[in-house]
Amino acid sequence: MLVIALSAIAIAYGSAFFPTGAPHWAPWLLALGIPFSLGAIMILGAARGARGVGPLKIPFAFVIVTLAVGFCAALILPATESPASTLWLGLPARAAIVIYGIGLLPIIVLPVAYALTFESQTLTADDIERVRSLAREIAKNQTTSAASDDPSS
């Protein structure tokens, strides 16, 4: 998914070098490529072996969809901003989608999901002890190996 999303972004940038300028579909590739590339790299980081991302698939899907819908809505909705515009929490509709939808909604979901799934999905005291234990074992083997290589010993 990461490679496909980044390829879409690369095609969008490449198309901007056309003599006629960026085609109308170029921003759409970015609007979809960015959410999927960010989602893919988060999934890559959060996955734990065969267990995958477990319950995190819901917040990841939510954020990918929120960003994609937000960007696409900004592209597709007509420009109707005027003094008569209805304001949503103080902003016209398209601006509110960008500021509150793209800028604030993920804040409510992602860090909370990270904290709530931390022990099951990210890190436990046992994990840390496994790393420390292996490090001690490697250090011990290296010391033994160095001593056996030393002709004076």
Binding site: G21, P27, L38, P83, G90, I99, G103, P111, T122, L134
Partner: protein, 506 residues
């Protein structure tokens, strides 16, 4: 249409003189606190690990506030609001990625880097790359790429520091640069990252308080966000369109570079090594994101507020967009608030400079010797010496190179992104990545960024609207990383040490 170069140039603003008794008094108090913290930290710095990663002994709240502080430069206070004033909401795409970047960094990098620190006693970002690919050469290449970016960042911050100190104390730009760098150097060289962290905590708190107060003042003065929006919609509706006055491609490009690129910013990533207890990572993304939102309120509030105040005739038209914050502070807000913000801007530049001095010194005295097969005996002594050299070089570059400093600042962020993100962020999570893929991607990021930025700076080449060197280099670096790793995939599995493999699998 505004390019990435254009917005970075806004950092190089010439601020009006704010040298009034209240501003000077708050500024002097600010520097007195910084010096006191530095003296305290210097007495607690005894080893190279203390100096570069604070002995892995920083608590959650301190690390979070420090990380917020180094993630925000003076641009968020001066250049950013000016950019919103100039191009409208399109400028928000630089800061909107903060909604995902902190937690993304936590999932992708924080745990694995902190555990690598636990397993190997690592101190630097190139250390992690060297361990992952079992390659001193990869470690050295990452170090070189970062050093090139640090030169740009440091010179830009040194100049910004001079501009702010000159504005507060009216001492002249040259003296401003040397006073700012001198104080930053004093605490960097004596107290290392420990002084840096606790100064960052103080500076970050100051920035957040100043930002929230200014935001509340703007809302109150403008009659609320709704009234501010109504004023702008009556005069310039496109300003509040979803892309502002940028093209969709340009705005989305900002979002891509500033979201994905955040995974390669050493001033933030380096902090993952320092947390005392790795289990405290649980709350790190939430706290950092909330902290960033507070600090960035000024960015949005001043940019939008000043636009409305100028359109309604409550403020005089600005001479240039980057005067948005200074004009509001010096002509509209209470002077004490202005004093707080000017000290906050000084704080932002100093915390960023200190962080980069420390990271640069670690590369010179730790990573590059490892790449050449040597280890220095007294890393603490060498660390302090190199710190002085880097700070002096940055101050001299800032003073002598004129507009070249702005150019250096342009590619710093993009260079970190294109050289580090694929090899580090993907590499630590994907066992299919190879040393050849990592080195090819780092080399491509370095060369493509430098070549495109130099060509654009010398006007040998013009980017199409909405495309930046940083974005092109980042995408190319990713694709080369995947392609070369795939071509050399038979070497991937065998080239990971057991402890690194365990860290990657957890």
């Amino acid at each position: 249409m505004t390019s990435l170069s254009g917005f970075i140039l806004l950092i190089q603003t010439s601020l009006p003189s704010a040298a009034q008794p209240a501003v000077i008094a708050v500024g002097a108090l600010y520097f007195a606190v910084v010096i006191a913290i530095s003296v305290w930290a210097a007495r607690r710095t005894r080893t190279a690990t203390d100096f570069f990663v604070a002995g892995k002994g920083i608590g959650l709240v301190a690390l979070t506030v420090a990380s917020v502080s180094v993630s925000v430069s003076g641009f968020a206070f001066i250049g950013g609001p000016g950019l919103i004033y100039a191009v409208g909401l399109g400028a928000m795409y630089i800061v909107l990625p903060a909604s995902v970047t902190n937690v993304m960094g936590a999932w992708v990098l924080a745990k694995r880097m902190r555990l690598l620190g636990e397993a190997r006693g690592l101190m630097t970002i190139p250390d992690a790359i060297g361990a992952r690919y079992r390659s001193p050469a990869a470690q050295g290449l990452a170090g070189v790429g970062m050093l090139v970016g640090i030169v740009g960042y440091m010179a830009t911050n040194a100049l910004a520091m001079g501009v702010v100190i000159n504005s507060i104390f009216d001492v002249g730009l040259g003296w401003g640069i040397w006073i700012g760098m001198g104080i930053t150097l004093a605490y960097s060289a004596s107290g290392g990252i420990l002084a840096g962290i606790y100064n960052d905590v103080f500076q970050g708190t100051l920035m957040a308080v100043a930002s929230v107060l200014v935001f509340l003042f703007v809302l109150d003065f403008g009659g609320g966000l709704g009234a501010i929006s109504q004023t702008i919609l009556g005069a310039d509706p496109a300003f509040l369109g979803p892309w502002g006055k940028l093209t969709p491609l340009a705005a989305l490009s900002f979002f891509f570079v500033f979201s994905m690129g955040s995974l390669g910013q050493p001033q933030a990533v380096h902090k993952y090594y320092m947390l005392r207890d790795p289990l405290q990572l649980k709350w790190y993304p939430l706290l950092k994101t909330l902290g960033l939102v507070l600090v960035l309120l000024l960015y949005f509030g001043v940019g939008v507020g000043v636009k409305a105040f100028v359109e309604s005739g409550r403020m005089a038209p600005l001479a240039s967009p980057d005067q948005a914050t200074p004009s509001l502070l010096l002509h509209v807000t209470p002077i004490v608030l202005a004093a707080l913000v000017f000290s906050g801007v000084a704080a932002a530049t100093m915390s960023a400079a200190n962080s980069f001095i420390n990271i640069g010194a670690a590369i010179v005295m730790h990573d590059l010797p490892i790449a050449f097969g040597r280890r220095l005996r007294n890393e603490l002594l060498w660390g302090r010496a190199v710190t002085i050299l880097i700070a002096a070089a940055a101050a001299i570059t800032a003073q002598l190179s004129g507009s070249m400093v702005a150019f250096l600042g342009i590619f710093g962020w993009g260079l970190f992104a294109s050289t580090l993100v694929p090899a580090l962020a993907v590499g630590l999570n994907w066992q299919g990545a190879t040393k050849a893929g990592a080195m090819a991607s780092m080399a491509a990021g370095l060369i493509v960024t430098l070549a495109l930025e130099i060509a654009a700076y010398n006007k040998a080449f013009t980017f199409p609207a909405g495309v930046t060197a940083s974005a092109v280099a980042l995408v190319l670096s990713f694709l080369i990383f995947f392609l070369v790793s795939w071509l050399t995939r038979q070497t991937a599995a065998a080239a990971i040490d057991p402890d690194v493999r365990l860290v990657m699998e957890l």
